[in-house]
Symmetry: C2
Subunit: 265 residues, 2 copies
């Protein structure tokens, strides 16, 4: 039992299946790498739960992936990144990348002076995005708004739906009236709502999806760990595999997934 | 350490705080009894998860309450009642009452010939309501529809809201066109949506809330266990106590609750 090598898979952890949008971005940029994805579907959502509970779950899931031999760990859940990234990094001996910093860096490229952040209640309450933006660009004005119904709407498959339009108008009314020029989608589920969100924010507000930003961060920071000619095997582990999660997995990955395993943490 | 006595509390278990509607109905009818309520908020929702996972969680929570000395156990979660009532009853040595049978009995009193059932994906898929109605009244026509967004809408506090009206029209369109005369609210969260649901179903469709039916079932089946002059103490235990759950608890119980404990199962 040696440690991980460059031939080991990249580990990706999310509370559920929303992080598959990050897996897709990574596969697109790194088609020859292997991936081990863990979705904690038996305990999702994390976004409505307390910092202590989210941290406990995130540590549990991260140790599982490291025990399976991943060479790098992507915490693809925004709530877990916001509450528990430091604890996870301290607990495991492989590099750890969250989704908050890459998302912020991608948002700063838009040159927006008024930046909106949308996410779960936990992510918004943590202040992680607000701090990360203030650290890098203190002159930028930031407003953050929790959108608790967006995850269930994404899971319902209503990313292009009149109900989602109505809900989005409710949640985003203040932040749009304030004049947000870009909006960070601070939850891996939210890219699934892009059709409705684009209609509601209009053409002048940029939607910033951190999934591809995370892939770029992995490549720029950890090129030494990557291997251009590996098998490209993708394994998906879920802590619960109801029909609903299988359906959403298929909707995001666009294919039936043979390697879907159910694990008990 | 003897077993429970008539002075022991009644135990109520739910995946979250929706079951507090059942606690309220029981307190109203049995104001001198003591209650121990357990909401498994760290692992909710149950309604989207598989039968195996829900059963494991329900057994875990039920054993916790019985270890705490409850004299009777109410499984106030419809999904857990639908998937795991027999397993729970076999695993503990106190009487167990679920919410499905009392709800069906209350619905049969309405004399509806076309009966609709709404609930979570898990509850509808389990077929528990459909079977319970067929056992008692085989001539009644039944249709069941899953309404996955109703729990998040109730938790958002949008029980009287245009978005909920729109979502309800989507989910209930077919069952109303079919001519349902009564609708069983097969989830303890749904009574919180009564204002919107009443508007959408109109005055001719009866909404059947099983909460008070469960209270009647406890009284009629287990009068020997009840004690008319006990302290009336109510203790609420949650496996996670984020601001969100405290807010919903207050919305349902209408008061700040001092005795809110966080427990780790």
């Amino acid at each position: 039992m040696g440690g991980p090598s460059e031939h080991s898979p990249l580990g990706i952890f999310d509370s559920g299946v929303g992080g598959l949008t990050v897996l897709q971005a990574l596969r697109h940029r790194l088609p020859h790498e292997s991936f081990l994805y863990l979705g904690d579907t038996a305990r999702l959502p994390y976004g409505t739960k307390s910092a202590g509970t989210v941290t406990r779950y995130a540590l549990n899931a991260s140790r599982h992936l490291v025990d399976k031999g991943v060479k790098l760990l992507v915490v693809a859940c925004n709530t877990a990144s916001a509450f528990a990234l430091d604890e996870v990094a301290a607990a495991v001996d492989v590099p750890v990348i969250g989704v908050v910093e890459p998302g912020v860096e991608a948002a700063l490229v838009t040159s927006a002076n008024r930046l909106g952040v949308i996410g779960t209640e936990g992510t918004v309450r943590s202040g992680a995005y607000q701090r990360a933006i203030a650290d890098r660009a203190p002159s930028i004005d930031v407003r953050a708004t929790a959108c608790p119904l967006f995850v269930p709407l994404a899971e319902e498959g209503w990313g292009d739906h009149e109900v989602t339009d109505t809900v989005a108008r409710h949640y985003l009314e203040d932040i749009l009236a304030w004049g947000a020029q870009a909006l960070i989608l601070g939850c891996t589920h939210y890219p699934l709502l892009t059709p409705s969100l684009s209609r509601v924010v209009g053409p002048d507000v940029r939607l910033v999806d951190s999934a591809s930003a995370v892939a770029e961060a992995v490549i720029s920071r950890h090129r030494d760990l990557l291997k251009a000619d590996d098998g490209g095997k993708v394994t998906i582990q879920l802590t619960d595999a109801s029909e609903r999660f299988r359906r959403i997995t298929k909707a995001i990955l666009g294919e039936e997934f043979e390697e879907l395993e159910v694990v008990d943490l």
